[in-house]
């Protein structure tokens, strides 16, 4: 009897992306801002676009929003040209540098943006989701920087979008405001909205993102789920109170670095268990032992450092 073996590596075929860049390149004068970049945005998913300054994140978003045209390759929103009205009716965006007419009130601005869309949210709803309900009557110019960011978020939500583009949305926001935004983003995602997020706060990407794409110098250098990216960096951090000499610890196998901070010692290692065994053996007065897995921040630094090394080679 023939045994049919199916090789199921993926759980289910991926749903068609709502938006994508395919081999997109963009040059500004002599600067190659994007080099054959592939990106996919899927429904009900948060895609975080990470990368150092100048990596091409804002350019990638500009292409997807139709603000710029790709020199090579394609940019598509719902299978349509990003510039088309039909596509734009289904998205919302919060741009990095968007000054808004200062003389209009927040409520008026939301009403204006609402009118562009066929099935918008109510003004009250936008305001509540963005945390600006008490600012509706205030003129935009009289708001603080953080309040202005939140008002821009309300504008991005006005059309009930299927994809929300957020370019550094929580820059300049205090913890409470950031919390409101995170909560709203999670609610929107639960409702099926796709989110494209660029941020410098890696803990934000860690908290919100399902998938991460890391750009450096215009190229994609890493792509995958947050846990997959984190796993690329297998380091662990050990923190403890110990009187042992840093130099001694550095000589142990598997130890990458040792930093002393007063009483505390912080050790970065690939093989946490071996190092911990040594610590327990060598220091009877060991205290406050903590082992932490590498976060996205460490992975990110490592990935971009690798990319630069590859570039230099």
């Amino acid at each position: 009897m023939l045994a049919i073996v199916t090789n199921k590596t993926d759980a289910a075929p991926a749903a068609a992306p709502l938006a994508r860049l395919a081999g997109a390149s963009k040059t500004y004068g002599k600067l190659l801002a994007l080099d054959k970049v592939d990106l996919q945005v899927r429904a009900g998913e948060v895609l975080a676009l990470l990368g150092p300054n100048g990596a091409g994140k804002t350019t990638a978003i500009s292409l997807l929003l139709g603000l710029q045209q790709a020199d090579e390759g394609k940019a598509e929103l719902f299978g349509l040209q990003p510039k088309s009205l039909a596509a734009r009716r289904r998205i919302g965006a919060m741009l990095q540098t968007a000054a808004v007419p200062e003389a209009l009130t927040v409520g008026e601005l939301i009403a204006l943006f609402r009118s562009y869309y066929p099935k918008p949210r109510s003004v009250a709803d936008c305001a509540a989701l963005a945390g600006v309900a008490d600012l509706l009557g205030k003129r935009y110019g009289k708001l603080s920087g953080g309040q202005q960011r939140r008002a821009q978020f309300a504008l991005a939500l006005a059309g009930n979008p299927e994809i929300l583009f957020l370019d550094e949305p929580t820059t300049g926001l205090d913890i409470e405001a950031r919390g409101i935004l995170w909560k709203t983003i999670r609610q929107l995602v639960a409702g099926g909205c796709a989110i494209v997020l660029t941020t410098h706060y890696l803990e934000e990407a860690e908290a919100l993102a399902d998938r991460v794409t890391v750009l450096a110098k215009g190229r994609v250098v890493a792509e995958g789920s947050v846990s997959a990216i984190r796993a690329r960096v297998s380091q662990k951090r050990i923190r403890c109170i110990s009187a042992l000499d840093s130099e001694t610890i550095l000589c142990w196998p598997h130890v990458r670095s040792v930093v002393r901070d007063g009483e505390h010692v912080e050790i970065v290692t690939d093989a946490a268990e071996a190092v911990v065994r040594q610590l327990l053996a060598k220091d009877a007065n060991l205290g406050e032992l903590e082992i932490r897995r590498a976060g996205l921040a460490e992975a990110f630094v490592e990935i971009t450092r690798e990319a630069e090394a590859a570039e230099a080679a």
């Binding site: 500009s62 929003l65 139709g66 603000l67 710029q68 009205l85 734009r88 009716r89 998205i91 919302g92 965006a93 741009l95 990095q96 540098t97 968007a98 000054a99 808004v100 007419p101 003389a103 209009l104 008026e108 009403a111 204006l112 943006f113 609402r114 009118s115 562009y116 869309y117 066929p118 099935k119 918008p120 949210r121 109510s122 009250a124 709803d125 509540a128 989701l129 309900a133 003129r139 504008l155 059309g159 009930n160 583009f165 709203t184 609610q187 929107l188 639960a190 409702g191």
Partner: protein, 262 residues
């Protein structure tokens, strides 16, 4: 039920005021509110041409009703230039530079709503300026014309917003926000002078009269001066054609520049 919870409560089932016409109206309304709330722009723009007219058209021409009449026609043209050039030239440059324009381009704003609302504002300004000029001309300048000619002059003034909005848009599409007012002034005042708006061309050196047809304000003033009994040099159709052509070309160029602006 918490308004912040997602679910069908947040999504409008009744249609919004969506529809191109509603958007245009809303856009214009908010443009109007914006300008009203920044009196620092509105007041000087409204007062400048009437004050100039008061000084040069009336006070310095004591008793010369003919001069007051002639200058009323040319100053009506002068009064068209500033709201259009500044509203588009400076306004668009600022909004472009600060990213507001980009945000609106991402939003599915009906095309044209932005420009139409700005033009509506410029026309409103022109209408107010004309009304002030007309009042000054009638009461202080003792200018008398048949009623139809007062209306005609007003209509010519409103028509004049088109070429200057187009020219202003060209400036706004390229200049950066700080340079834009300088560019506008550099164009606005010399052009007014060279078109014979302040002093009749007959009183200026000959070569100025020869290059005058380059300026849209010249063509507009030829139309306006019909109310003084002057026959337009190229005929009504000729001037109108030139103005239309100028407008179309400027808009086309501005559109390409704006598309590249990003």
């Amino acid at each position: 039920m918490n308004a912040a919870t997602l679910g069908n409560t947040g999504i409008e089932t009744k249609p919004s005021t969506h529809g191109a016409l509603a958007s245009y109206a809303l856009e214009s309304k908010f443009e109007f509110l914006r300008v009203l709330r920044t009196p620092a722009f509105a007041a000087p723009t409204l007062m400048f041409p009437p004050l100039f007219y008061l000084l040069f058209g009336i006070l310095l021409n004591r008793g010369n009703a003919g001069a007051a009449h002639y200058l009323f026609a040319t100053y009506s043209v002068f009064g068209v230039m500033a709201p259009s050039l500044f509203g588009f030239g400076v306004g668009v440059a600022i909004e472009r530079e600060r990213g507001w324009l980009a945000l609106k381009r991402v939003a599915p704003m009906p095309p044209g709503a932005y420009l139409i609302s700005k033009m509506a504002m410029a026309m409103l300004f022109v209408a107010i300026i004309y009304a002030i000029l007309a009042t000054l001309a009638f009461f202080l300048g003792h200018v008398r014309m048949p009623a139809v000619e007062w209306t005609l002059l007003g209509a010519i003034a409103l028509l004049g917003t088109m070429p200057f909005c187009a020219l202003g848009l060209m400036i706004g599409a390229r200049a950066n926000a700080n340079a834009a007012p300088a560019f506008v002034n550099l164009i606005y005042l010399p052009m007014a002078f060279l078109s014979g708006l302040w002093m009749p061309l007959g009183m200026l050196p000959k070569f100025i009269g020869e290059i005058a047809p380059l300026w849209p304000s010249y063509h507009l003033s030829q139309l306006a001066l019909m109310t003084v009994g002057q026959v337009p040099v190229a005929g009504v159709a000729g001037h109108l054609l030139w103005i239309a052509g100028f407008t179309v070309v400027c808009f086309a160029i501005a559109r390409r520049w704006l598309a590249r602006a990003g």
